[in-house]
């Protein structure tokens, strides 16, 4: 089992397999994001209080979910890279960070655009908004720390520790609207007691879930592509990469 995992997780093998996997994530993503946006922006009914303005949730909520999911993947990969010294895990952690930072930024910006007309303010320092902003800073800190070392091993080690420390922010973001009074509203779907009966109408929930799945596929495709690039760069002096280039193979 252990041998098999190590063989599977070898950079060369990952390069080969990811090449065939990417289209399986990329095309479903394009398909679902088209349906999700059309359904969410045109077909779904208006909200009884917010009118059309609520439609930003079709971007905002999936982005916010992704920002937390990617951090979790990043931190777990960083931990695996740290403990078992698997190169591929460190690569996954490294290439996930900018994607996660992008989604966090998107969630903050769309929330701000919605907040101005609805709440009456672009930004408040309540627990939810502040902890999400800290998440963005954690991503940025991870990225800069990873870039600060010339030695890739040292870089992976230092930044992995930071990623693991930052994981404590995830439950804080998730429960912030429950533990404290916040301006941000509570969870409509993801809290345990609401899975059976979400506080969001099915006509709005379906496009939201489709968008969420589409974003996850997009992340998968991005992480594979970026992982391939990173591995080629890291292993540029290895035999298999030279053979690859000589053969003119993709």
């Amino acid at each position: 089992m252990w041998k098999w995992i190590q063989a599977f997780a070898s950079p060369q093998n990952f390069y080969r397999i990811s090449g065939t996997l990417i289209p399986w994530f990329l095309y479903p993503f394009v398909f679902l994001v088209t349906i999700g946006l059309y359904w969410g922006l045109y077909v779904a009914p208006i909200d009884y209080q917010q009118g059309d303005s609520y439609r930003i949730i079709f971007i905002h909520v999936p982005s916010a979910w992704m920002s937390m999911m990617i951090y979790l993947i990043m931190a777990i990969s960083a931990g695996i890279g740290l403990i078992w010294q698997i190169k591929l895990a460190s690569v996954v952690a490294k290439v996930s960070a900018p994607i996660g930072a992008g989604f966090t930024f998107l969630a903050l910006i769309t929330g701000s655009i919605w907040g101005k007309p609805m709440w009456g303010t672009w930004w408040v320092w309540d627990a939810r908004l502040t902890s999400e902003l800290i998440l963005l800073f954690l991503y940025l800190a991870y990225m800069s720390l990873n870039n600060a070392f010339d030695n890739p091993k040292k870089a992976a080690k230092a930044s992995s520790i930071l990623a693991l420390v930052g994981i404590i922010n995830l439950p804080i973001i998730h429960y912030s609207v429950k533990w404290w009074n916040t301006l941000h509203q509570g969870a409509s779907i993801s809290s345990m007691d609401k899975i059976a009966a979400p506080a969001i109408h099915p006509d709005m929930l379906w496009p939201l879930l489709i968008m969420a799945i589409a974003f996850k596929l997009m992340y998968a495709a991005l992480v594979l592509q970026r992982g391939r690039d990173e591995i080629l760069f890291n292993e540029q002096n290895m035999r298999w990469v030279k053979d690859l280039i000589k053969g003119g193979e993709r």
């Binding site: 609805m118 009456g120 693991l164 420390v165 916040t182 006509d203």
Partner: protein
Amino acid sequence: MTKRQNRMILVALLVAGTSLAAYLGLKAFNENLLYFFSPTDVVNGKAPNGKSFRLGGLVANGSVKREGIKVAFDVTDNQNTFTVKYEGILPDLFREGQGIITTGSLKNGTFMATEVLAKHDENYMPPEVADALKNAKK
């Protein structure tokens, strides 16, 4: 103990240590993390005296009085109520029965607001459904 087990324990300690630190830190700052005080909190003397603070609650039904851009309304948590006076533009979601958060200070029992923010709840539904729910309640 192998090196790998050693690293595993170190990572576990790291995560446990940060969790504990975060827990203690958040517990210590719990009061500061509250974004607003309810009218009952204010009556119980939890809100800072004489200083600006945030008051949160529902806009009492039938209490909104407008006069140009001056507006007065009652904020309630169904136990205690404060009258709020405000001059300025109200957010789109401001209406009777809506949750709001307002910044300002108390003057002779009236809350003089400098800012009014609407708090949205987690319910999303089409207008027809909202009407149906309302009718069902009656």
